[in-house]
Each structure stands twice: as structure tokens, then as C-alpha cells.
Amino acid sequence: MLAVAAPRMTPAGWTLRAVVSAHAVAIAGQPVFAGMYLTGDYAGLSLHSAGADVVTSIGYLQVIVAIVVWVRLRQAWPFLATSAVVAAETVQYFAGLDGALWLHLPLGVTTVVAVVVQFIDVWRRPLLRQGAADA
């Protein structure tokens, strides 16, 4: 079924919502684990690094979904925003491994904010095919 004029969410739109939501949930855990770790719970360290793997993986998955959204719905914004977030998360990942806390802490906060903003954006309105929305 081709998306015609009907203002209805496509599977691609729903998938993006799902991935961004999972991304937001995963990234919200990161400061929690960091706090556990720095107050002396060693398990917090492995949770934080496992969390980093999960968040980054979801980020890359989100890039793929955003490309599909771009192709199917002619909406480039999700892709551009996701690319920025994933770039930040990649830097964040290595800043964490490197112990560069001057970067890791502010960039971590920034990345959480960015994912939350994206979460609001994808749920605020239905993702429609560009032509359909403007028609």
C-alpha cells in the first residue's frame, strides 16, 4: 500500500518512534550507573560500559531507521539529527574509555538532552510523507 494523501503513520514512522524511545530509555540509565560507580559500587562500572554499548548500538540502528524514513517519507531531519547524536555518542564513548572527564561529563549531559529533544519531536506529531504533510 502506497502512502498517498491519508495522514496516517507509516511503519517507518512507527519504527523511528520505537527506536528513539528505546534510545531515550537506555541513555537515561547512563548517569544512574555512573552515580552508582562513583559512590563506590564497582558493579556500576560494568553497567555503565554495557549501557554505553547498548546506547551506541541503538544509535547506529536509529541511523538506519532514519535513512529509511528519509527514503520512504522524504524527511531528512530525523537523519540529520540522528547523525549528530550518534557522532556525539561516539566521541562520548571514547572520551569515557580515555578518562577525559572534562569532555565526558558535559557531552554526556548534552547527549541526553539531544535524545530527549528527539523523543519529544518524534512523538509530538505524526511522521508523514513530506508531500502528504504539505499538501
Binding site: L45, L103, P106, R124, R125
Partner: protein, 531 residues
């Protein structure tokens, strides 16, 4: 052209742009304001003119002669006294010293041959002597409340530091007056130890004023290796200091008498750094060497300053720093570094080969973590060609303990972080400031344990009595300089280190603590009871 309900594309772009600007500003501010590389502590500025680097010759502390060698043991006497020293040329600096010198005299000893040092306290304050890295019975380990009082100062034992100020008393303290014998069995691997003051609440200012000296343990196996020796073996005690206008050592103590109120002024809570780098008590010294291999036995005796050392020739070439030993003696095999990090109280035994340096060339020892004058440490002037029959064997030792995780009977976690103690800022282990009356860890003699240490800022963590091995850093393999047997491990900000050790030797009450001396005085110690 509305793109959604109520929000125009123009508004979306505006909000997005503002968020992007905020993120960019935040990150650039972090880059600009944060210390990169990170440094824990604040630097004092000297109020006297500082000498140019590499002018003063490197002193080597004199080896103390025993007063008796009978009965299979050596006996030494050390008087702790005030003395004046000329550390900066033309400047007289009053100090607290062991036998009138800074560093104190070096004690040379043999593995398994006991040494008794009789300390006499002629200083205006109580003292405590701890032999750092010594495998010492608790009675001679220098527990912080086991005070050695100056003559006629018995009344002070009731008014010292935490004891009175915070209503804590240590019923187990063994206090003596004027003299005290410390006996060291030295049944341990040969290595460079150091002795220093360890008095409750006032360790940092006492070390700063000069109460530190070297103690070397040797054995036949090490002597037989053929390492550089004699004048080609140099102890290097690196320490930073700052000087007040009157030539005295500047230190931001809350109580300048160093008797009642512990701690430092607020800006220096994270640690006191000086702007003068001393090696063996001389500012930025220079040492003439042969074009040959030298064994440098490096100790960081600074209160809080970390170094990343490299040896740089005149043409910018970096010499190999071949590490042969750690805090607790020889490695299994040499480890080659170009850059060697060293935290307070750590020791590295390093061989440097000057044979490739042109005669007359200068090799600077540089601290990559320093800036301005604190970037330089010392220099070697290669003076002459010389024969060299020394060597660095591929196998240095075969007696390193091989504890495995599976040997451990328990695992303990400790967080080292800032917090509040009593009424002010302090430094805590596991959320608690030091209390002599509280046993934090009880373990059985002979038990193997894994300890997981987590830091908020830099914390060089030191265990008394035992050596340990580093198992991991932040869940990853240890770094090259973590090799061998250590007694102090440097935790960097946000880092976790796993160590493994066996609590053997002696039963009794010992300590583990952060060896940032300011942190140590402001709560960051805990009791280790071996039963």
C-alpha cells in the same frame, strides 16, 4: 507554512539553533576551563626569586652509619631536630629534619637483617615514624596515634588533633616521650623504601617541612644481576616545595604551630603543590654522568604532585626509561617506557643509558604534567666516555607472587572521594572519615583478597604492611607501569583499580590510605586489622 501544530519551521530552527549554541558553548567552556591534563591540588607561589634550572649539583643523601652491628642486627640513631638549610642559593630555610639534613640520611640494609632505629624527638611537636613499604610489625609501623612526644610535652598527648577537637580518643595508642625504638625485620624483597612522619592530622606539613628520608634494602640475588651500581646508582627523591618571603617553606596550614587544628586553607583542600621542584633537596639540580648506563631509583616524595617523567636529549630525542623495579622490588622482566607516570609515594627503579648521548650533551628530565617552571625536574650532563660492564638481564626476578583471582577469599569495594567530615570538607573512604577507634577491615593472617578501589579525583592509594599486584584498571588490563609488586597505586579521576594481595607477615592494626598527604590528613585513611 506550519510544519506541525502551533510551531513554525522558523521557530523549530530557532529552538534547534539555541540548543546547538548551548551545547557548543558548554563543551568549549569545559575544554577551556577544565585542567587538561587533570591535576588534583592547587599550587603555591614562592615569594623569593627562583634560581635558573640545572645549576645546582645533585646532592646524594649520606648513608647513615650504624651505632652498633652486634647480634645479627644493626642499630641506628636519628635525632629529629630543627635545622637551617640552604635549599635555594643564598636563601636560608628553617626545616624539620632527621639528623639535620633534608632528605634525612639514607639507611642501607640487607634483606632479613633486622634494623633498629632509635629516634629522638627534639622538635616542638610530637612525631611518628613510618617506614613506607616496610614489612614491619604493627608496634613499629608508626600508627598515627603512636606518638613520640618531645621531652616534657606529656600533656600534649591529651590535646592532639582529633583526640580533643572531635571527642575521639584512641585507647590503643602507645605514646612515648623523647626517644622511641622502631624495629624493622626487613624480611622482604629488596627495594627502595622511605621513612617519613605519619602523625595524626599533621603528616602533610611535617613531610613538607622536611621529615623524609630513604631506606634501601638489598640482597645477594639483586647484587649478582650486574645492574649499574656504586656511583652509577642514584636515588632521586623528587618533591615540590614553595618558599615564603623570609625563606621558610610556605604551607597553607590552618594552624601554623601544627599542633591543634588540622587541615589547610580552602583553596588547597585537594592538595598542596609547590612551584619549585627539588631532587634530593636541591632545586632543578644537574648531575654529571659518564656515557654509560645508570640505575635511577626514583621516589615521588611530593605531597600531592604527580609527574609524568621523560628523559629528553638536546636534539629532542627521548631516551628509553627501562623499568626494572616497582615499589616492592624487582620486576620479573624489564619494561621499557618513554613516559613514566609517578604518583606521590610511588617508586620506580629505572635504568637509563647515556651512552648514545654526545659528550657534553644535556639530558633533561621533564615532567609532562608540569607547566612553566614545574615542567623541568633535573638534568644530566654527559661528561665523559667510560667503560660500562653493567647489564640489564632479561630475567630480573622469579619470586613475584602469582596470586590468582580464584585464590581470593573475599572481594571488597572502596570509594575514595570528597565529602564532609565533622564540620568541614574532608576526604572519605567508603563514605567515612578516619577514626582510629573504628576497625574498617578485618582480615585473617594469610588471606588473599581482591580490593576494588574507585576514585573521584587523583588518589594514590597505599596499603601498609603488604605489597599487591594490579589486576585491572577500569575493567581493562593494567598499564605497563603497573607491573610488579606495588604498595601504592595511582588512581586517576573516575578510575577504578582492582588489586590482589595476601595479608601475611604480622597481625595487628595497620592502615590503608590515600597518599596525597593533604587528603590523608583530612580523613582519607582507614584501619586494617589483621587477626
Amino acid at each position: 507554512m506550519p510544519s506541525g501544530r502551533g510551531v513554525t519551521r522558523r521557530q523549530m530552527l530557532g529552538i534547534g539553533g539555541a540548543l546547538g549554541l548551548m551545547a557548543a558553548t558548554g563543551l568549549t567552556s569545559a575544554a577551556a576551563l577544565a585542567r587538561r591534563p587533570s591535576i588534583t591540588g592547587a599550587q603555591l607561589r614562592s615569594a623569593v626569586p627562583l634560581p635558573p634550572p640545572f645549576q645546582v649539583p645533585l646532592p646524594v643523601p649520606a648513608v647513615l652509619k650504624p651505632v652498633g652491628t652486634s647480634g645479627g642486627a644493626d642499630r641506628y640513631e636519628i635525632t629529629q631536630c630543627e635545622a637551617s638549610a640552604e635549599i635555594l642559593p643564598g636563601v636560608t630555610t628553617p626545616m624539620w629534619t632527621y639528623n639535620g639534613t633534608f632528605p634525612g640520611p639514607t639507611i642501607e640494609s640487607r634483606r632479613g637483617r633486622p634494623v633498629t632505629v632509635s629516634h629522638r624527638n627534639e622538635l616542638p611537636v610530637p612525631t611518628v615514624v613510618h617506614l613506607h613499604g616496610g614489612r614491619t610489625p604493627a608496634a613499629s609501623d608508626g600508627y598515627p596515634t603512636d606518638l613520640l612526644l618531645p621531652e616534657g610535652r606529656q600533656e600534649h598527648s591529651m590535646h592532639m588533633g582529633h583526640g580533643s577537637e572531635h571527642g575521639m580518643h584512641d585507647p590503643r595508642a602507645v605514646v612515648t616521650e623523647l626517644t622511641r625504638d622502631y624495629t624493622f625485620p626487613l624480611d622482604q624483597r629488596p627495594t627502595l623504601l622511605w621513612y617519613h612522619d605519619h602523625r595524626m592530622d599533621f603528616t602533610a606539613p611535617a613531610i613538607w617541612r622536611g621529615l623524609a628520608g630513604l631506606h634501601i634494602v638489598r640482597d645477594d640475588a639483586e647484587d649478582a644481576l650486574g645492574l649499574p651500581a656504586g656511583p652509577r646508582e642514584l636515588p632521586l627523591m623528587i618533591a615540590d616545595r614553595a618558599f615564603a618571603a623570609d625563606g621558610s617553606l610556605a604551607y597553607p596550614a590552618l594552624d601554623p604551630t601544627l599542633r591543634v587544628r588540622p587541615g589547610v586553607r580552602e583553596p588547597y583542600l585537594a592538595g598542596v603543590l609547590g612551584d619549585v621542584i627539588l631532587v634530593n633537596g636541591a632545586p632543578w639540580p644537574v648531575h654529571e654522568v659518564d656515557a654509560a648506563r645508570y640505575r635511577l631509583r626514583i621516589l615521588n616524595a611530593s605531597n600531592a604532585r604527580h609527574y609524568e617523567l621523560e628523559a629528553v636529549t638536546g636534539d629532542g630525542h627521548r631516551l628509553d626509561l627501562v623499568q626494572i623495579g616497582a615499589d616492592q622490588g624487582l620486576l620479573a622482566a624489564p619494561v621499557v617506557h618513554r613516559l613514566l607516570p609517578i604518583a606521590p609515594a610511588e617508586r620506580y627503579d629505572v635504568v637509563v643509558d647515556f651512552s648514545g648521548v654526545p659528550i657534553g650533551g644535556l639530558v633533561k628530565v621533564v615532567n609532562r604534567l608540569g607547566s612553566g617552571r614545574t615542567r623541568d625536574v633535573m638534568a644530566f650532563r654527559v661528561a665523559r666516555k667510560a667503560a660500562d660492564d653493567s647489564r640489564v638481564p632479561r630475567t630480573l626476578s622469579t619470586d613475584l607472587p602469582a596470586w590468582r583471582r580464584s585464590d581470593a577469599v573475599r572481594v571488597r569495594d572502596f570509594a575514595f572521594r570528597a565529602g564532609r567530615m565533622h564540620s568541614g570538607h574532608g576526604w572519605l573512604i567508603g563514605g567515612l572519615p578516619f577514626d582510629p577507634a573504628r576497625t574498617d577491615v578485618t582480615t585473617r593472617l594469610g588471606d588473599v583478597e581482591v580490593w576494588r578501589l574507585i576514585a573521584d579525583v587523583h588518589h594514590p592509594v597505599h596499603l601498609h604492611l603488604v605489597g599487591f599486584r594490579v589486576l585491572s584498571r577500569s575493567g581493562r588490563p593494567p598499564l605497563p607501569h603497573d607491573a610488579g609488586l606495588k604498595d601504592t597505586v595511582s588512581l586517576r579521576p573516575g578510575e577504578a583499580v582492582e588489586i590482589i594481595t595476601r595479608f601475611d607477615g604480622y597481625r595487628g592494626r595497620y592502615l590503608f590510605h590515600c597518599h596525597n598527604a593533604e587528603h590523608e590528613d583530612m580523613g582519607m585513611m582507614a584501619n586494617l586489622e589483621i587477626v
